[in-house]
């Protein structure tokens, strides 16, 4: 494989990334390469810099040092249509008057719709039905449950058919059935489009079972690689100070893949 082909197969490239907010060091010297089509789970304790890493990749935070490339370009130069973002649904302002289809069409337009064109409505309907939320059409989002909101947010991200989907703790606050459904939808979307998925999660077990790669962060990169290597006892102890729920996962505690 030549260099050009190799670059083309890398969706996200992070080299020696450091982010500081004043005196606070959020990320230090993080380097990793995410191949196209990977399902990457980002785990780490609170304050580990997981959200900061995602915001750097979205172009919302400027690195203090280091280089970041998304599809070969700086994050703020990437065509936004190529990237879908699913924020934590708990951040939703429930006082804002909005219909499910408006939220989905905002993902299509990258703007809030005054009126929805027929073809936009059809696109919203199709994608909402696809995520099992067709019944939410015409309903206001302020009354949705966590699971319903998560589906609408997924539909909003999928509607633009992105090559990279970034999710910030998508399973937080939804029940186990909803969580299983969400992973099925993500995996179906990935199979269909070959997209790359980057997901922040606190659930090591979900990371182990669903991700192809796991990033273990604690401001520095503690581990990166396939789940059975990145979620090694040594990496988890280094990041979290314990292995906690990982005892319940059939992990092969090897040496880990230190970056």
């Amino acid at each position: 494989m030549n260099a050009a082909e190799s670059t083309a197969r890398i969706a996200v490239e992070v080299k020696e990334l450091t982010v500081r907010f004043g005196d606070h060091l959020a990320l230090e010297n993080v380097s990793l390469s995410v191949p196209h089509g990977a399902f990457v789970a980002i785990v780490g304790p609170n304050g580990a810099g997981k959200s900061t890493l995602l915001k750097v990749l979205l172009g919302l935070v400027t690195p203090t040092a280091g280089e970041v490339r998304v599809f070969g370009s700086p994050p703020n130069r990437v065509d936004p249509q190529k990237v879908g973002y699913v924020p934590q649904f708990k951040t939703l302002d429930r006082t804002f008057p909005a219909l499910a289809e408006e939220l989905v069409v905002s993902g299509l337009r990258r703007s809030w719709p005054v009126r929805i064109a027929k073809e936009e409505y059809e696109a919203a309907r199709r994608v909402l039905e696809r995520v099992g939320a067709g019944h939410l059409l015409g309903r206001t989002v302020s009354r949705f449950s966590g699971g319903e909101l998560q589906r609408v947010y997924l539909a909003r991200a999928f509607v633009r058919r992105p090559d990279l989907v970034m999710l910030d703790e998508p399973a937080t606050g939804i029940d186990m059935l909803g969580e299983a459904d969400m992973y099925r939808l993500l995996e179906d979307y990935q199979k269909e489009t070959g997209a790359t998925l980057l997901m922040i999660t606190h659930d090591w077990e979900a990371a182990y079972h669903h991700a192809t790669h796991v990033v273990v962060l604690n401001r520095r990169l503690v581990g990166f690689g396939p789940p059975e290597r990145a979620l090694s006892e040594r990496c988890l102890r280094e990041a979290f100070g314990h292995v906690g729920h990982a005892h319940g996962i059939s992990l092969s505690f090897g040496g880990g893949d230190r970056a």
Binding site: G59, V83, P97, A98, E102, S106, R109, W112
Partner: protein, 278 residues
């Protein structure tokens, strides 16, 4: 059949009321205000900036007082003064670790203090200042109507930005991730709201001007299922309250600003009590 209103001086018909030039000016200024405040109000309310309208109105007092001191048309000084304060509030919000309401509170007090200082420096009695505090339909001049028209035209030019403003109002981070220039838009919206506040001062007075931005939008929220519907609703509530409030003001010799705002509050109360929460 014409509607008939009783007033202390006799019987006045709707046509008689609106045939008076000062009432026509007041109506035009009031409807322009309803349109402008109805358009910007939902952004103010949904962004949690209701206090901004009040703060900017008090800031405008500093500009009005400076105009009175310098002997120039107070509103022409109030426009840049209030816009400057709006930019200052937005800058402080973005650059410091204080909450938005605190930033508004600081500028509000600073501008009021300046206003009081300016008035104290003027040697003769400044009764005109009270016109700006409480508003008066008699005070609306053709120049004020021109100012409203210019602001309406300016607002029409920003119509293409409505979608991205609404998007950032819904979720600032999502909008920023989609390359919406949210910081630039914050400044733009703050300046436009400041201009609306200054234009409204003559009609309703700076003590009540914030109500125009907040109450129609809050009332419309009670029955709106969409943000665009909330904007239309706010314009309708504002327009109805202006027409009915001015007629009540003329017929019963009530302060115009108070009459309009009390009607808005009544509409909000009815909406909150009887509309199913959406």
């Amino acid at each position: 059949m014409l509607m008939v209103f009783r007033c202390p001086l006799g019987v006045a018909t709707v046509l008689e009321i609106w045939s008076l030039p000062f009432m026509q000016r007041a109506l035009l200024a009031g409807l322009a205000m309803a349109l402008l405040a109805g358009y910007y109000g939902p952004f103010v309310v949904q962004r949690g900036l209701s206090f901004l309208g009040s703060g900017l109105a008090h800031a405008a007092f500093g500009g009005v007082a400076l105009g009175l001191l310098l002997g120039v048309e107070p509103l022409w000084v109030a426009f840049p003064f209030t816009a400057g304060v709006a930019l200052g509030i937005t800058w402080v919000q973005g650059r410091t670790h204080i909450r938005g309401d605190t930033a508004v509170g600081i500028f509000f007090a600073f501008s009021m203090a300046l206003g009081i200082l300016f008035l104290s420096l003027k040697r003769e009695y400044t009764a005109e200042a009270f016109t700006y505090l409480f508003g008066s339909i008699l005070a609306v001049s053709p120049a004020d109507l021109w100012a409203s028209s210019v602001l309406l035209a300016l607002t029409a030019l920003t119509l293409p930005l409505w979608g991205r403003w609404a998007y950032a109002t819904f979720d600032r981070e999502l909008a920023a991730a989609d390359r919406v220039p949210v910081i630039l838009d914050d400044y733009l919206l703050a300046v436009l709201v400041a201009l609306v506040v200054v234009v409204a001062i003559k009609l309703v007075g700076l003590l009540l001007v914030a109500a125009f931005l907040v109450i129609p939008a809050a009332a419309a929220r009670q029955w709106s299922r969409t943000f665009s519907g909330m904007v239309v609703g706010a314009v309708i509530v504002g327009g109805l309250s202006v027409v009915a409030g001015l007629m009540a003001s003329y017929s019963y010799n009530l302060p115009s600003g108070a009459a309009v705002v009390l009607l808005q509050a009544l509409i909000f109360t009815v909406s909150a009590l009887f509309m199913r929460r959406i």
